[in-house]
Amino acid sequence: MASVAFMARPQRWDAPFGPAMTDADVARLMTLPEIAAIKADNFPAHTPLADIVKNDTRLVRYEPGDIVVREGDYGNSAFLVISGKLRVVLAPDLPRATIGRQESRRKGFFEALAQVWTNRVMPEVRGAVRQTSQQVRAGDDLAGSRVVLQDVPAVLSRHKTAELGASALFGELAALGRVPRTATIFAEEPAELLEIRWQGLRELRKYDMGWRRLIDERYRENTLKVALRESSLFQGLSETELQEVADAVLFETYGGFDWNVSFKRMREQGSVAQEPVIAREGEYPDGVLMVRAGFARVAVKIGNGQRTLTYLGAGDLYGIDELWAARNGSEVSLQTSLSALGYVDVLRVPAPVLERFVFPKMQAPPRPLIEMAARPLSADAPMEWAVEQRFINGTKAMLIDLSLCVRCDDCVRACASTHGGNPRFIRHGRTFDHWMVTNACMHCADPVCMIGCPTGAIHRSIGSGTVVINDETCIGCGTCAGSCPYHNIRMVETRDGDGKLLRDPDSQRPIVKATKCDLCETSPGGPACVRACPHDALRRVDFRSESTFRSVR
């Protein structure tokens, strides 16, 4: 007979951001001018301000030289300086090696060839010197480790910097907008910072007018006009007109920032992720939605389900067809629905603003989204599958045509011989018809693996945009591997030159490193897996491209 087990229903704050936060810390933080100015009464009973401070923030201390955020990092938290002095590097940028990045250098032909005899019999051999980079300062735990600038005075003399003192808030736009950090900030003096994770930041913006004004104004000042100018919709607008549009735009966020966690869980259970609806078919549009970050699904109702017509990414527009039709006299409700695939950040441009500034100068939209519904269902089946599996995040996904693949594993061996004896992917994965997307890093458009890396070891290569891991600054905490919703990052045990497993002398635990496909960043000739396939069964595809889906139909 089946038995029933009881457990407390999981709650939002079961896992606080800073488990070490005490009531005394919270009481002290509540007296900070930036927090004290917040009207606690505006917060609902289920999300009181004090609980947000206790559970969605944490106190972090930095020593001189400690890097707080690096340019190019993805992060899900903002920082408020409580005490101490920080420096933001303005120009020129710090050398990549200085901030713990990998200096990618392509090997020469003979250097690559030398791997034939220099590859060790045992995989994952690292020189003992390379185990711990001088740049990494160990923390109380692995996640507390950080990269340190070795010579702060030299940095200050060679680079133009600006000071950040008490009460300075930074990192909020990167945290809420899912965009890379734009500058490197380090501690000049011992500093205490309040780190606020995105959930807390969202609540503060939602319930406190002061924080909302601050964040929105910063966004309007820094990036909104650039985003509008890049959109085809606002081409030809004068600076004044663009400013008026920017002033009227509303910011909206749908879905969870940590969508990867729930998606990974549901994927393992075989269920389909619930998607927050942004706009519903049949409703009347009150403005155009412009996707700023993340992905959104455009769907129409068919039978008892939703048929995916396409998906929208950064810069794409929704609702313009209907508003244009309404302008020309026909009353049109939304022909399609829009839902968030994970986390989506959208800008809502109100209809009156469009009517005043945009429509008079605009040509008819080229092709209404609803026309895509005329295609046979089978034609869209690959895209429906890719959207459901969230492969649309992949810019360099490894796609294998199983009807050509002879399962010879030449691709795996090529990868292994290029990467010191261990392959960086598994020739296995989700299949659809005769296509397989293997467990190889897809170099995602929204790289959730890069969020939370304490040393910034996982980062985008500056030249190619490939997501790579700096082996020297990787501390083996496994944050990236845990975040990847596709299981494409693996933690490997490392060995010394004699092939012995490396262990930490104190804990006796193995020294592990995160590994993943790096698209053979340092090898001449590009990805070895693609070149090694004798049957052209393997290729790297960009799932954001329409041509990918045309080729797999």
């Binding site: 032909f109 396939c533 080729s551």
Partner: protein, 274 residues
């Protein structure tokens, strides 16, 4: 570009290169006064060069870290080069079955290498398509573990049935017949020739035992049947992937022996015939 089109274009390109090479070689052979008066030397050495060339495919596989061209082009060169070699062999020997022990052994090796190569190429074009129709995909090395898991699950079903129904009819049938099937991959030839022997065998076993079971036991039998049919698909993959892997164990040693004999042949010819 689809895979099929890419393959066609690749082979056409390589074929074109070979055709041009043959024309150039023929013109050269006509124009050049052959002082030996023995065209076999020319065809023999060209064949020797081609054999070394096609054998380089194996070296290419070990040089994946350097940009030495896509393996797909190397395979096209290997396949078309192989056909060219057999053509040159007939030109060189002027007969299908030569006289003399060494020559016959050599000819036998040429035919066997060619036949195994053609066999390998053909199965590489057909078996992957058949494997995709199974609806599952499994890494070859994981098959034994997966079969062990299936067997464990099947035994658990049989035991659960006994425990729940209080009779050992299904468990007894499992021990008598089904355990043989679950022990390891079965019906190798049936899968090779797509006879669906495994599926037929499973259905026969289900029919055999079904009449003796209660409603509750039949539910367990249905689970067992689903598991057995799943195993049949794993067996299918085992057979298909085995064929794709092990033909090389014939082709490569034979080709190595052929190269060795060719070296000996060249030494002998140069020592005694000149």
């Amino acid at each position: 570009m689809t895979g099929e089109r890419a393959i066609t274009i690749r082979y056409m390109v390589v074929l074109g290169i070979f055709a041009a090479a043959i024309v150039a070689f023929t013109l050269h052979a006509i124009e050049t006064p052959n002082q030996l008066g023995r065209p076999e030397f020319l065809t023999g050495y060209v064949m020797f060069g081609l054999m070394l060339g096609v054998a380089l495919l194996n070296a290419r596989k070990r040089l994946s870290m350097v940009p030495v061209g896509r393996a797909a082009y190397w395979l096209a060169l290997h396949v078309l080069g192989g056909f060219l070699i057999i053509g040159l062999y007939f030109v060189h020997t002027q007969r299908i079955w030569p006289q003399g022990g060494f020559e016959r052994a050599f000819a036998m090796l040429v035919y066997l290498v060619t036949a195994s190569g053609i066999y390998g190429y053909v199965i590489q074009r057909f078996i992957p398509r058949r494997l995709t129709t199974s609806g599952i995909e499994i890494i070859y090395e994981r098959i034994p573990a997966e079969l062990a898991r299936i067997r464990r699950e099947a035994e658990e079903i049989a035991l659960a049935c006994t425990k729940e129904a209080g009779t050992d009819t299904l468990a007894r049938h499992y021990l008598e017949s089904l355990s043989w099937y679950f022990r390891r991959p079965r019906f190798f030839l049936g899968h090779v020739f797509a006879l669906e022997s495994g599926e037929h065998w499973v259905r026969f076993q289900v029919q055999t035992i079904e009449r003796y079971l209660s409603e509750a036991e039949r539910r367990h039998l249905a689970k067992l049947e689903a598991l057995a049919l799943y195993k049949d698909r794993i067996d299918f993959h085992f057979v298909g992937q085995s064929l794709l892997k092990y033909w090389l164990l014939v082709h490569v040693p034979l080709a190595t022996a052929l190269l060795a004999m060719m070296f000996w042949h060249i030494i002998v010819i140069n020592v005694y015939a000149l």
